[in-house]
């Protein structure tokens, strides 16, 4: 069995990527970077989907990953358009400056 990879390693990798994504989301102040962190999180989730598809020998997991990708694409289109608008109106991408909800 030499050379084979334990399944849980994939899940561990996914957990690491997920946590890094969350970290990026929490610690970064640039909206675009935060957005990319979300993509990282989604990728991590996709990895678990694929891994479970391998484990259960079912293609369904791949489809979930596929749908996640589609949603990510839609989200990127709308999200980036929002970012463009925000930048046009506020002249900043710093999330800490976008706090008009406060007060």
């Amino acid at each position: 069995m030499m050379g084979h990879v334990p399944l849980s390693w994939f899940l561990m990798l996914s957990a690491v990527l997920f946590s890094l994504g969350v970290a990026g989301f929490i610690f970064r102040r640039n909206i675009i970077t935060m957005f990319m962190s979300i993509e990282l999180i989604l990728n991590a989730v996709n990895l678990t989907f694929i891994t479970f598809a391998y484990q259960r020998q079912q293609v369904a997991g791949h489809l979930f990953a596929f749908f996640v990708m589609v949603v990510a694409a839609a989200e990127a289109a709308v999200g980036l358009a929002i970012i463009l608008t925000v930048f046009k109106n506020r002249g900043t991408l710093n999330i800490d400056d976008l706090d008009s909800m406060k007060n």
Binding site: I26, M34, I95, D99, S100, K102
Partner: protein, 611 residues
């Protein structure tokens, strides 16, 4: 037999003209609009010849439209002899009116829009006629209502036109409410809406229920066919262009109610009370509308009330069990009333839009063709012997006499009044001295030719013996032929003509004297018995006031707003506390989310949610 082609052709015309008509020349619009209707007419002819005797109902199933629980409604068309008569009337008269409209609408704006709506109307009307179940019929029913609304409000920049459209639409909704209830009951009782199925089982159904269904159906018919109490929309509907009045509000759509009740004859023959209701409503409408018609000065209003009155006649026929007589009158009425309206349209057209008969007169020499055809139509409606109107009216009156003699006598009286006011209109328009300022001119041939064809049909159309043709569809009525009764009816008509001649040609001062002499009665009739005002006071105002005071001030502002505001106030109070957690900083929110997910995973993993 490709029945679907019949309604689809006008629909195609509507789509082409409606979508692209704005860019088309008038010739192209005409080609599509008239071409589609004439083709539909030809296809009807081909279909009917192909079907031969039509002793059985021929049905075509296209697709299952609705399938929900026990309810299965197919999109089905069927043809029997009743449908055949209706198809011929609708497409035939429809074609003539379409051709006429080329000339009439030549100088109007929205040319393509007019023809697109007219084609759409034809589509829905044919769907209504061809329907093989109540729901498809209802589709056509609502569709023609929609087109009626659109075409009444054709001059949408004039307030009275849009108001009239709204009125027609709303009043029709009231009737449709009854129709819908009737359909629910039919489905509840018979488990189907197919004509064949329903009529096969109707004899076994309880009489009370059938009576209720019949009355509700009649309520729907009252709305569409302008019977008491819902007739008020039809006179106002004359705000639309005259071809519309002729096609929709005289020849075809308003007869849909008659068609529908005749179609449901099985239900009615097993519910005598419902039949009586129809007969009473019909005769009352005929009488009331005729009296109102006596005092109208707008030429189209006169014919509008005349239409209401004649529709009443048809219902008398149906209500007295003489369904075929009702349909017979429906057909002849389509000829002469369409002609009357189109003739009136020609008069109005020649006078550049003048509708008040007091500003007409003496047009006999100026527009002789129009006068000729109008005279033919007037003779027909007045029941001059051997004209189509005389024959169909006679059939109805004979049946009425058989059913209840008093209906016959009221009918005869009404016939006299009909003759009077129609000839009053004729005399005021064409005899005497011209009292207006416009310069009358004869209409173009494209308008005259359809008028002449309709005039021939008005005079001779009675020889198309519809009752004989429909003998296999409806139960026979054993009304004995009676020379005396016929003579009385004809005499009443002639008397009315004579009276009109006396008052409006021989001694023109007489009408004012009569009006002054019976001032109260005249005011009452002139103001249409104040029915609109009564409806306003009895229905509209209480509804508005009730909505204002009870629903708005009481329920909405007091109860609902109070509750909502109360909830809002509580939420605000809680929010005052919770807002301390809202820093407005996105990243701290994110931290909280992460914190929450950690907590959740902790609960799942450590506290044993996992395997």
């Amino acid at each position: 037999m490709q029945l679907w082609l019949i309604p689809i052709l006008p629909l195609a015309g509507f789509l082409i003209n409606g979508l692209f008509g704005r860019r088309f020349s008038k010739g192209l619009v005409n080609t599509f609009a008239i071409g589609s209707v004439v083709l539909a007419f030809l296809w009807v002819l081909k279909t009917l010849f192909g079907l031969g005797g039509m002793n059985a109902v021929y049905t075509e199933h296209y697709f299952t439209w609705i399938q929900s629980g026990a309810l299965t409604v197919g999109f089905d068309f069927s043809v029997d002899r009743l449908t055949a008569v209706m198809l011929l009337v609708v497409t035939g008269v429809g074609s003539l009116i379409h051709i006429y409209a080329i000339g009439y609408m030549a100088h109007e704006g929205g040319y393509y829009r007019f023809f697109a709506f007219l084609n759409l109307f034809m589509f829905f009307m044919l769907t209504l006629v061809l329907a093989a179940n109540y729901l498809v019929l209802f589709v056509g029913w609502e569709g023609v209502g929609l087109c009626s609304y659109l075409l009444i409000g054709f001059y949408f920049d004039k307030k009275f036109a849009t108001d009239a459209g709204n009125k027609a639409f709303i009043v029709n909704r009231i009737g449709d409410f009854g129709f819908s209830l009737a359909m629910f009951l039919i489905f509840r009782q018979f488990g189907s809406l197919d004509f064949a199925h329903v009529f096969a089982q109707a004899p076994a159904a309880p009489v009370g229920l059938l009576t209720l269904i019949g009355v509700l159906l009649m309520f729907g018919a009252c709305g569409k066919s302008a019977q008491i109490p819902l007739y008020v929309w039809l006179p106002d509907a004359m705000a639309g262009p005259t071809p519309v009045s002729a096609l929709i509000h005289a020849a075809t759509m308003v007869t849909a109610g008659v068609y529908m009740t005749a179609r449901s004859w099985v239900i009615y023959t097993h519910a005598p009370i419902a039949m009586d209701v129809i007969a009473y409503i019909g005769i009352a409408t005929a009488l009331v509308a005729a009296t109102i018609g006596l005092a109208q000065n707008d030429i189209k209003k006169v014919f509008a009330y005349s239409t209401v009155s004649q529709l009443g006649y048809m219902f008398v026929g149906v209500g007295c069990g003489a369904f075929s007589a009702g349909i017979y009158h429906l057909m002849t009425h389509a000829f002469f009333k369409a002609l009357l309206f189109l003739g009136a349209g020609a008069v109005i057209h020649s006078l550049s839009g003048e509708q008040d008969m007091r500003k007409m007169g003496g047009l006999r020499d100026k527009i002789p063709w129009t006068f000729g055809v109008m005279a033919c139509a007037s003779l027909a409606i007045a029941g001059f012997p051997l004209t189509s109107g005389a024959m169909s009216k006679e059939a109805i009156l004979l049946a009425a006499n058989h059913h209840a003699p008093w209906i016959y006598w009221v009918g005869v009286f009404t016939a006299g009044m009909t003759a009077f006011y129609v000839f009053r209109a004729l005399f005021m328009t064409f005899f005497g001295k011209y009292r207006g300022e416009a310069h009358p001119h004869e209409s173009p041939p494209v308008m005259i030719v359809p008028l002449v064809i309709l005039a021939l049909l008005s005079l001779g159309g009675g020889f198309i013996k519809v009752p004989d043709f429909l003998r296999s569809v409806f139960p026979a009525v054993e009304a004995p032929e009676s020379g005396a009764l016929t003579a009385v009816a004809i005499a009443a008509g002639l008397l009315g003509i004579a009276l009109a001649y006396l008052m409006y040609v021989y001694k023109p001062g007489l009408p004012d004297a009569v009006a002054n002499g019976a001032k109260g009665l005249y005011t009452l009739v002139y103001n249409k018995y104040f029915v609109d005002e009564i409806y306003d006071a009895a229905v509209v105002t209480p509804l508005v006031e009730g909505s204002r005071v009870v629903l708005w001030k009481g329920v909405d502002a007091g109860l609902i707003d109070g509750a909502v505001n109360g909830i809002g106030a509580r939420a605000k109070g809680i929010g005052q506390v919770l807002r301390l957690a809202q820093s407005g900083n996105t990243r701290s929110y994110a931290t909280w989310v992460a914190f929450g997910s950690v907590l959740l995973i902790f609960l799942m993993a450590v506290l044993g949610g996992l395997r």
